[in-house]
């Protein structure tokens, strides 16, 4: 029998009408997540991407979500108020059908972590740097059923297994442990 627990839900509200397309969200995200922190900038490593097309008036900040090993069976394409958005334009997945939300060097998937930090930030950095207030931060509590959660490392390993297969991963780990 699972028990109910309270969970903090972090929400970034995206008001696409307020976006002016400056990409500060991408820049500060990439810089914040650099190691050491802020030591480099590279929007290609950002966990938020601005889908930006001024001629069609499309400005959609999208956050990196789950990695998926295979692409969807079909694609979605939204038309809202007569404006046509890109295929998969609102999708958060790091997926084989497109090159967003992948580390440019390794190809490994990127995922927004809401700028988890110690001490924790009052708001994710993208929100702090969005002076247009297209991105705003909200928190609320929700009751959810307790679930067995995978740890960070396990999540990372699982995505590597999805990408390369368990056998390769095991071999790599074995090789690495021999080297060290």
């Amino acid at each position: 029998m699972m028990s109910k627990v309270k969970k903090k839900v972090k929400v970034i509200k995206i008001d696409v009408d307020k976006c002016n397309g400056c990409r500060a969200c991408e820049i500060i995200c990439a810089s914040f997540h650099a190691a050491p922190k802020y030591s480099s900038n590279n929007p290609a490593r950002a966990r938020i991407r601005l889908i930006r097309d001024p001629v069609r008036d499309v400005f959609v900040p999208v956050y990196a979500g789950e990695y998926t090993a295979s692409e969807c069976m079909g694609r979605d394409k939204y038309v809202i108020d007569g404006k046509e958005y890109d295929e998969c334009g609102f999708c958060r997945a790091s997926c084989p059908s497109r090159d967003v939300f992948k580390e440019p060097d390794s190809g490994l998937p990127l995922k927004c972590d809401m700028c988890e930090d110690d001490p924790s930030l009052k708001e994710p950095m993208c929100v702090q740097w969005c002076l247009a207030e297209a991105l705003t931060y909200e928190e609320r509590e929700e009751e959810v059923e307790e679930d067995v959660m995978l740890g960070d490392m396990e999540l990372g390993l699982k995505s590597l297994v999805d990408k390369h297969g368990l056998q390769q991963l095991v071999e790599s780990v074995a090789r690495m442990s021999q080297k060290s």
Partner: protein
């Protein structure tokens, strides 16, 4: 590891199609920062004064600034430098947008182009993969259209494209290079790009730009953003709305155009219309603007929104910024509606929004004066707006009279003759100026107009208010938090400045004060142009986010170069002096340094001579405006004085 800069340039020989990636000397950043500074160094070293603008030996340099691609808010400028076909001097024109940051992320600080391609090509830079591609299918295509076609054929929606239109292809002397809503417009660099048969440069990059002292640096960036927020909430009440905030003039946001429409001259920089701005005009222009503007637009990593996308009936969607909505409107003595209708096609053709309307207005004046006749203008429509469109089409194609007008007012007047020269009345160093015709000579503006290497006032002025304020209270209110002054004495200069009496123009600010004030304003622009910072957050508005007291520490944190305020001043001076020396080598002398004769009604020849004498001295130049051996030595540029000596210039 290199910080802030990538440490690599691309060298492209268009004649042979050769492409090289060349490591740069890290010392150059210490001497010149980057951007305009290092562009000037390359042009000095590699383009001797005999080289004509349309020679294969002329270089066309696309550069990022030193901070471009770092998280410094507003550091997004592309600085393009070459020899101007119009002035034959160094042309440097800058654009915001997204191009230079992408170049940095591709791993390069500059693209240096030489030679001439046999066929029309475009350059595609995709990280380490760089290639010249056929562009014959893009011939005659518009600037925005070209960018879109290239992104589609490369299947790279994230590629940033800088391109020329018909005007550039046809070597119009005021052709621009366009990129989204941003453009390098002044001095005809698009014409040089066309001469090199280069239609566009597309770039995509996914590499890191490194920061030397990350924690320090980001703190400065956060401070800048906090300041911008405060400044945005508290516009300056003592100046017209258009000058009250940060950014380039907020033309897309502000409807109140009383200042421009009543202070600037209409037509061919001729008529002041002091009673133009009425309630009816205000209402009608407000409606026009609201219906045209779709969305405010920002450049890369900048919280300002100086541009907008424009969706106007009967015109393809385009993007606009700053003052171009008024240049066509006012040159044609027409309406804002016309401004929005012609600016779109003009941008697709790729022409300068200042020089183009002025050249057309100049042609129409010549026609009215009988100097140009129906024989010169066969088939020209009878209405002014129709004529503007008609002449624009001919200029960008260099057809008929358009071929002459495409050289700008100075050279066109020379070719037309018959007294046409008197109609090309608004130039400095052969280049068209803002349409301003004023009363009393202003010593600050006199110096900036005469000596500015950019030959464009908006790229020189900014830090010091344009005039005294109406009341003492406003003055004190302004002075109380004016932290940007390099020295407290500037506050007193301003406090004592009055609209009438002994402490008013032309004799106050005094010659000595004028030298100091102008030097400060100019220094700020030279720092921006080397770092890639947008003037809109730094050198152009009053009370900017970046100033003499925080610049050195910001640059130090980003680059690791040990730099203080005095050291930074020295670099700015070095860059400024090098460009002066470059132009001197190409023949620039004191005689060229004068404002349009009719810029001010009341002139003071003796005072003006004294201003120039003293400013030259202040700068370390001789009485002809030529940098002296001593000052070049102090700036570690003995190689420049040796060259000038060999040529018998000093």
């Amino acid at each position: 590891m290199r910080y802030a800069e990538t440490g690599y340039n691309l060298e492209i020989d268009l004649t042979r199609g050769n492409i090289e990636r060349v490591e740069t000397d890290p010392k150059l950043a210490e001497l010149h920062l980057g951007g305009l500074g290092t562009n000037a160094k390359i042009l000095w070293d590699r383009v001797p004064p005999e080289v004509e603008p349309f020679s294969p030996d002329n270089l066309l340099i696309f550069s990022a600034g030193l901070l471009t691609g770092t998280p410094a808010p507003g550091a997004n400028r592309t600085i393009v430098s070459t020899i101007s076909p119009q002035t034959k001097l160094m042309a440097y024109s800058m654009m915001g947008g997204f191009w230079a940051p992408e170049l940095k992320h591709a791993g390069y600080d500059k693209v240096i182009l030489r030679g001439k391609s046999p066929e029309l090509v475009y350059l595609w830079i995709n990280n380490d993969k760089v290639e010249l591609r056929d562009a014959s299918h893009l011939q005659g295509k518009g600037t925005l259209e070209t960018a879109e076609l290239i992104r589609q054929e490369l299947k790279e929606p994230n590629a940033q494209v800088a391109s020329i239109g018909l005007a550039g292809e046809n070597r119009v002397f005021f052709a621009s290079i366009e990129q989204g809503r941003s453009s390098c417009s002044r001095l005809g660099i698009g014409g040089v790009m066309g001469d090199k048969r280069l239609k566009a440069i597309a770039v995509r990059g996914t590499k890191d730009v490194n920061i030397a002292r990350p924690a320090d640096f980001i703190e400065h960036c956060n401070d800048v953003l906090s300041y911008v927020k405060i400044r945005e909430k508290n516009p300056l009440g003592m100046v017209p709305p258009i000058l009250a905030g940060l950014g380039s003039p907020q033309e897309m946001k502000i409807h109140d155009e009383e200042w421009h429409t009543t202070n600037f001259a209409w037509g061919n920089a001729r008529h002041r219309r002091k009673d133009f701005w009425t309630k009816e005009v205000e209402q009608s222009w407000k409606e026009t603007q609201e219906s045209a503007r779709e969305r405010f637009l920002s450049c890369y990593n900048c919280p300002m929104k100086c541009g907008a996308s424009v969706s106007y009936p009967g015109v393809s969607k385009y993007m606009m910024k700053c003052y171009s909505k008024l240049t066509y409107t006012m040159a044609s003595m027409s309406d804002l509606d016309f401004g929005f209708r012609i600016a779109g096609p003009a941008q697709e053709y790729g022409v300068d929004g200042f020089t183009t309307p002025q050249t057309i207005a100049f042609a129409l004046e010549l026609y009215e004066a009988g100097i140009l006749t129906d024989q010169d203008m066969p088939g020209m429509p009878s209405d002014t707006e129709g004529r503007f469109f008609w002449l624009l089409d001919r200029i960008v194609r260099r057809e008929g009279i358009g071929d002459i007008l495409a050289d700008g007012t100075y050279w066109a007047a020379e070719r037309i003759g018959k007294g046409a020269e008197a109609f090309a009345h608004n130039n400095i160093k052969k280049h068209e100026q803002l349409p301003l015709k004023l009363g009393m000579m202003n010593p600050l503006y006199f110096l900036m107009y005469c000596t500015g290497e950019k030959i464009n006032i908006t790229q020189i002025e900014g830090q010091f208010p344009q005039a005294p304020f109406a009341s003492k209270e406003e003055t004190e209110d302004f002075l109380k938090d004016w932290i940007q002054v390099p020295d407290e004495k500037f506050k007193q200069y301003f406090r004592d400045w009055e609209n009438r009496g002994d402490h008013s123009i032309p004799h106050y600010p005094t010659v000595e004060m004028s030298c100091e004030i102008v030097d400060w304003m100019e220094k700020m622009h030279y720092i921006d142009d080397a770092t890639g910072m947008c003037a809109g957050l730094s050198s152009f508005p009053l009370k900017p986010a970046y100033h003499m007291h925080n610049w050195a520490t910001i640059l130090s944190a980003a680059t690791g170069i040990d730099l203080d305020e005095a050291g930074l001043s020295q670099i700015a001076k070095r860059n400024r002096t090098l460009i002066r020396a470059f132009n001197v080598r190409r023949g620039l002398r004191r005689g060229d340094e004068r404002p349009p004769e009719d810029h001010w009604k009341k002139r003071f020849p003796e005072l003006e001579a004294k201003l120039l004498d003293e400013y030259y001295k202040f700068k370390g130049w001789n009485n002809q405006g030529i940098p002296t051996k001593t000052s070049l030595h102090e700036l570690a540029m003995d190689y420049v004085s040796e060259d000038l000596e060999q040529r018998g210039i000093i």
